[in-house]
Symmetry: C2
Subunit: 228 residues, 2 copies
């Protein structure tokens, strides 16, 4: 069975991508990255999701991006935006070079495992303001990766799969439901509480909630606010 | 003054590159990466070198690459080669995706600092067996980086400087001596002892020692072996 490294945050998108990779027949090694984000319960969700979807193993690598600052997700002095606060430009929830760092770690593990496939749940629709969610960035990373490794020098060919990059949230949810993903196990909220309950008002919650509504799928998310 | 992020391992090459960046007038932010390498005294050397060469600040980011295994530098079950053991192919001291990960971290810090210059002491002469020391890899990383960041989207242009990539070890040492680098502060050995003394027999020691000889510069390295 072909091996793949799947980046798994514990959120809705990456859970769907793991299910897709499994359906394509890959033996999936799930990698979660603890980069000092506020939403730490996501990492606990990643462990649950990996188990539920039949990953071969799940590992969490810790790296202290908070040391550099610059993002609402790692810097406690920057507030997480609530709905309607920011309409233009790159959100304050953007973490500098985050996807490059996470993909680099996935590349390292893939090389050790002799896996030639990486799966990544980037989405250029919802995260259109994030430079490192764009297809042209993904192609440039893949090209660099194919010059970076021992496997590449020895004739291997690494493929970076981003199967949901152009999908709406509703479409992602429809795909996941078909593949049996239990979204009740996932956490998307930027400021979930210690019991994995969501705020219902941050950008991530709004996107997720609207996605379930548009897909016509009951929202399994538990909220700690009086969310309708 | 323009800011630059300089990757600083504590070894001879990166110390020279820091001196070069300083001479070109950059305010240098030195980044060291603790990736679970055996030669931990290198990290202590990085702190000394940054101070001696006038870096604005030095930070060490810890990341546990040993969790993935696959290299003699991070995996205690793989022996560090001594002279003559390996003549062909990629050395066992190659760390999977190491340079990609270190450059990604430098990119993240550069974005937070609003620096547009990265300096990296990669060398394609001594490390000709390492895929991620080649000029074509560096160009691909730079291209990817210029699609990855908020700064790039907003019109900035990141430059990856690799000023010693094509230099012999002797040439690097000559340049550094001219710029006042005290190589007695640096540690290159793959298995230095707790007092920063070198083994004299690993590949890195051999390259370094031969470099001083070829440059006609007295070798300031302290050895724990009966090294001539």
């Amino acid at each position: 069975m072909r091996k793949a490294v799947v980046l798994l945050s514990g959120g809705l998108d990456s859970a769907t991508v793991l299910a897709m990779a499994r359906q394509q027949g890959y033996a999936c090694h799930a990698l979660s990255v603890d980069y000092g984000q506020r939403h730490r319960v996501e990492l606990e969700a990643a462990v649950r999701v990996a188990r539920a979807l039949g990953a071969v193993e799940q590992r969490t690598v810790r790296i202290d991006l908070a040391a550099f600052g610059g993002s609402a997700l790692t810097d406690n002095s920057i507030a997480v935006p609530i709905q309607g606060v920011q309409k233009h430009g790159i959100p304050v929830t953007y973490v500098p070079a985050r996807n490059t760092i996470m993909l680099s770690l996935a590349l390292a593990w893939a090389e050790v495992l002799q896996a030639e496939d990486l799966f990544f749940g980037a989405n250029a629709v919802d995260y259109s303001g994030y430079p490192d969610c764009r297809p042209e960035y993904m192609r440039a990373f893949e090209r660099m990766a194919n010059l970076a490794t021992k496997a590449a020098v020895e004739g291997g060919r690494l493929t970076l799969h981003t199967p949901i990059i152009a999908m709406s949230k509703a479409k992602i949810i429809e795909q996941g439901v078909q593949l049996g993903v239990d979204y009740g196990l996932t956490v998307s909220c930027y400021q979930a509480d210690a019991e994995s309950r969501a705020c219902g008002v941050c950008d991530s919650c709004r996107l997720r909630c609207a996605g379930f509504a548009a897909a016509g799928v009951p929202d399994p998310t538990r909220y700690y606010t009086a969310h309708a």
